[in-house]
Symmetry: C2
Subunit: 331 residues, 2 copies
């Protein structure tokens, strides 16, 4: 036997190299090039410092929704933060599998000057204004009627995810005709309007009965299965991007709707500021994966069809609320 033949035999008898492990959503995101990450402006971050638990700090960071969504309420929230209105307020309500809510327990604290009353129609954002906010797409290119949603989808995440679309994942939503991720945010639409869905960690504006729409002073975040029946009925103004565990793990309130029965059960809010108004040394910084990137398209496909070793059957779809946009502290 020649040396070459012997080597070939040896190679054939050696344990076969295991096939490479298919990527996970996490490994796909970890491999994203630097160029696909986008800094989040400190003007769009609301930083809430809860009272420490023992010696442990509890900081919650909320990213405000971008234009053209919920502009009236986010303007109010910037005003409230600048006025230090939340300092000394508290988390007043924790209802399991629903929401954590914070604000003024007395409901009597005066609001600062400049708080606008936002009309109910602002729960919906016309599709053409969503398109106008996206450069370089021009509004005059908008096709008519129902296909707008499809068209928005096409511009949003491009060709790669069209494969996922063919597999049906984003045509099967119980609460909207179309759902999509656009400019870093989950969006639901009908044929005329867009709105943001009540996913885990999304932040909404507490309100009384219609026609009240809430000022933005009373806020809540979702801590369970997405209560999507609230979509289009309450304004979504942001999402928790850090410190969610400080809210989701709070003791549930035992009063009606999860309100705490006694003041001592509430978690005090020490301070709430826009990150841009914090001293530079205390200012958190985050970045998010561009959702028009190649990596995000691969991430969506992997969330919809897990093929790594743990999984036997890929789902073949993914709920819009089971598709969090990757966000991380900026280096």
């Amino acid at each position: 036997m020649s040396i070459l033949a012997a080597l070939m035999l040896l190679q054939a008898q050696a344990a076969p190299t295991p096939p490479p492990e298919p990527p996970t959503p996490g490994s796909i995101v970890a491999a994203a090039p630097r160029s696909e990450w986008r800094a989040i402006s400190p003007r769009d971050l609301l930083v809430i410092d809860l009272a420490p638990k023992g010696r442990a700090a509890r900081r919650v960071v909320i990213q405000l929704v971008p234009a053209p969504f919920a502009l009236g309420w986010t303007a109010n929230i910037r005003t409230l933060a600048a006025a230090h209105w939340w300092d000394g307020t508290a988390v007043v309500r924790v209802q399991d599998n629903y929401v954590v809510q914070w604000g003024d327990p007395t409901e009597k604290k005066p609001l600062p000057a400049g708080i606008a009353t936002v009309p109910e129609r602002a729960y919906l954002t016309p599709l053409d204004t969503v398109a106008e906010a996206r450069s370089p797409i021009e509004a005059r290119d908008l096709p008519e009627t129902r296909s707008r949603a499809k068209w928005l989808s096409d511009i949003a995440i491009g060709g790669t995810v069209t494969k996922a679309a063919r597999e049906g994942w984003h045509e099967r939503d119980s609460y909207a005709e179309w759902v999509e991720v656009i400019d870093g945010w989950p969006i639901a639409t009908d044929d005329k309007n867009a709105w943001m869905p009540h996913c885990y960690g999304m932040v909404g504006v507490g309100r009384n009965l219609s026609p009240d729409t809430g000022s933005g002073a009373e806020l809540y975040t979702v801590i369970g299965q997405a209560p999507r029946h609230l979509d289009r009925n309450i304004a979504i103004v942001g999402r928790v991007i850090a410190g969610m565990e400080h809210l989701s793990s709070l003791a549930r309130g035992t009063g009606d709707l999860g309100f705490y029965k006694t003041p001592g059960e509430r978690t005090p809010i020490v301070r709430a500021r826009l990150a841009s108004e914090l001293p530079a040394a205390e200012r958190p910084a985050f970045e998010m994966l561009a959702t028009d990137s190649e990596t995000f398209a691969r991430y969506v496909a992997a969330r919809a069809n897990r093929r790594d070793s743990f999984f036997n059957v890929p789902a073949g779809g993914v709920d819009i609320c089971n598709l969090p946009v990757p966000i991380r502290p900026a280096k």
Copy 2:
């Protein structure tokens, strides 16, 4: 003016009677007649007593899934409870927006005799066996192929919800061809098989990589948005019907996958028993709303289309995981 005319005028001038408030899902269930509630057998309840928090008891009650679902695993769980296997184990992992998991922290505690290894095919339950388990439907009545799922739906909740079906609510699931509530449980199907979805509070069997399917000794429950990509990849064996807040509000673990880094962070499990094996005085009792009842059909319709004062826009649909089956302590 006649007295009659005066009375009529008075009536006309009085403040108009406000229209009756449309019912809420809660008010619909509260009005259900006694005859629509079904006792849950104490043989199907796993009662877990966590170590008290201060002086407050922490009891979690899990209802095991009915036949023909997950029979091998639920048999193991009954064996483990009878052997008092969980006594002295602990909650070892809390991952935000995902799961709380409990079991033996050492992973070395021997299992009792009689624990079966369940094959992976048991993740799926053939539709005809679901039908056989339902009296008085006979399996020979099953139509062929894809329409089985539709047929199961028809027998499950009858004519009233057909209206909801026409509105599209249960045809729009990202993770299954069909979803339905049958015999008190959420069910997902393709054209041949059924499985239970990973909704909030559902309990699953921790496992290692395939072909391991888990014994049932390591269990978890869902504490966030339904991780439906786990459907068909892990056995669902029950749901938390009381005390969920004792699990969902636990501090999140800071290790990989939410495992606690130190033993002191774990929550001890003092005792776990089937309710049927507890002394009568300590035995909890629960009942669930019959899901083939008129009330349940009205409840589904109201969950899909809220019309009470708080809501401006009814959703027009409802996710299978946003449709919890009403369960309450039995009187």
